[in-house]
């Protein structure tokens, strides 16, 4: 796998489309256990990302991710702004100056993104958050790369692990975020942040 800056921008635009197409669904999930704005917030944020990257030449992938992070931080309301924003900004540092990235770079991106989210949100797995999709995805991705699987297979396994993580969030109570105010009543509902994380990974898998 070798992805250049222009392709990264294409993928981000596709992510913006997918999230926009799913915004009602994401907001519904968020309405059940939160304040109901996750879909709208993410869509607005990614629209701003699209605008900011419109004239980008695609020469520096780190820069593209940093611009993405800053646009998200400034335009996504709720907790997703600082969380996804920090994720992209930290990920940017892993690939600063690179014109092309491979599957190992993607693993580093995901690793730094997850570290950023945990640092910003003070979260960990098992609290019914986006971490419950992203951490299994990273673990599976790392293992698949070590086993020498093709990039496409690695990404497939990673996004499947994220999907299973989303299913897992249905079974636990939230101990983080607005949903934590619902406690046990949040059981049975899938987490919106984990869902949007899965949709992002799924889109990346489909686009490579």
């Amino acid at each position: 796998m070798s992805i250049n800056g222009k392709k990264v921008i294409e993928i981000l635009n596709k992510i913006a489309d997918v999230i926009d197409n799913n915004k009602a669904f994401l907001s519904e999930l968020d309405a059940a256990i939160g304040d109901g704005d996750h879909g709208i917030n993410m869509s607005k944020g990614l629209f701003a990302v699209r605008e900011k990257l419109r004239d980008n030449e695609g020469k520096n992938i780190g820069d593209i991710l940093k611009i993405t992070g800053m646009a998200l931080v400034s335009n996504v309301g709720g907790a997703s702004g600082p969380l996804y924003g920090t994720a992209f900004m930290k990920a940017a540092m892993a690939v600063n100056g690179k014109e092309e990235i491979d599957i190992k770079d993607f693993k580093n991106i995901l690793e730094e993104a997850l570290k950023g989210i945990k640092m910003r949100g003070k979260g960990q797995a098992g609290e019914k958050t986006m971490i419950d999709a992203l951490e299994p995805a990273l673990n599976v991705l790392s293992k698949a790369i070590e086993e020498g699987l093709s990039s496409k297979e690695c990404l497939y396994k990673a996004k499947e692990a994220a999907r299973e993580g989303v299913e897992y969030t249905k079974t636990i109570a939230a101990t983080k975020g607005r949903a934590s105010y619902l406690g046990e009543r949040s059981i049975g509902h899938q987490d919106p942040g984990a869902t949007s994380s899965y949709l992002i990974l799924d889109t990346i898998y489909k686009e490579i």
Partner: protein
Amino acid sequence: MVSMVIVSHSQKIAEGVMELAKQMAPEVSIEAAGGTCDGRLGTDIEKIISAIEKVYSDDGVLILFDLGSAFMNTEIALEMLPEEMRAKVEIIDLPLVEGAISASVECTVGRNLKEIKDNLKNMAMGKIM
């Protein structure tokens, strides 16, 4: 005198808390940073930075917040401040209304940031992990 910024998901809440605190301590500089730039519920880094800049002095600024992303966005706002300013701005874990009133009184009697944080630490709610 230490000044204060009230960060809330709601502009109405931030302004209301500011009003109440100012009643107790009219000499303290307090600024409200509530809601988003386009008037919706949520918090906004630009608003927070702007509020800090408005009340900033060498005595420092104390920032109170309501929930979750208010704290995260305030953290990011602080990360964006110039080094000398950032060293004198502190986020404090307090119940928003009662904490703002207690903090404003502490400010008005001339206590410094460290003293205020020490004196009010029993009001902490575990909002900052």
